[in-house]
Subunit: 121 residues, 2 copies
């Protein structure tokens, strides 16, 4: 594909995706929260990492459970470190599906996004 | 692809798209407004059709002009009917690009959305 010099140097517009289900929406914010819980090991630590109150993080997790009709997080485990949270297999699969959709979509939309970038200079 | 009887009868999750540009975001609401201005012939009529105040509709159009750095609407024309608004060629092209991206994306994401529907039953 031919690109003008200008198009070569300016950034390609990006896409944000939201999955619309009967019970609600799943977008980049909720997916990022799940990923952060997975890497940090608890809802509280993920909330801190994302500058989000524990209550807000917990509400978003509950939203996801309700929207999907299945748990995204295993029940908190006890122990000397005060417990933590792990994702369920469904929670992990949800992240993978969302990121996989994102990759396919970037590819599928690439020509139109190049065209849009050329239109707006 | 094999589908369970349940998957055959329940609705496939849909996707909403937002285009992220340096200056702001273009999502389904702004595109629907442009389409309605195109079909109704004025910002005021489009606002009424979408249950939106004239000011809000006008602000969204101005947002689009600013985000894209080019006008999406021709200047209002005078005349005995009090004028009206037509989309610029860029405004029409923006609608077409957005809807074309939507179609490619639905296709590209179909397998994962079928998988998600199966996961959540």
């Amino acid at each position: 594909m031919e690109m003008t010099p200008k198009a070569k140097t300016s950034k390609l517009p990006s896409l944000s995706l939201r999955i619309d289900l009967d019970e609600g929406r799943i977008g980049p914010g909720k997916i990022q929260l799940l990923e952060t819980i997975h890497s940090c090991g608890s809802i509280a630590a993920a909330g801190r990492a994302l500058n989000m109150s524990f209550k807000h993080a917990w509400d978003l997790v509950n939203d996801l459970n309700r929207i999907c009709g299945c748990a995204v997080i295993e029940p908190e485990k006890g122990g000397k470190d005060g417990g933590g949270s792990a994702l369920t297999p469904f929670g992990l699969s949800l992240i993978n599906r969302y990121r996989s959709i994102e990759r396919s979509v970037s590819q599928a939309a690439r020509e139109e996004l190049l065209g849009l970038r050329a239109d707006i200079g």
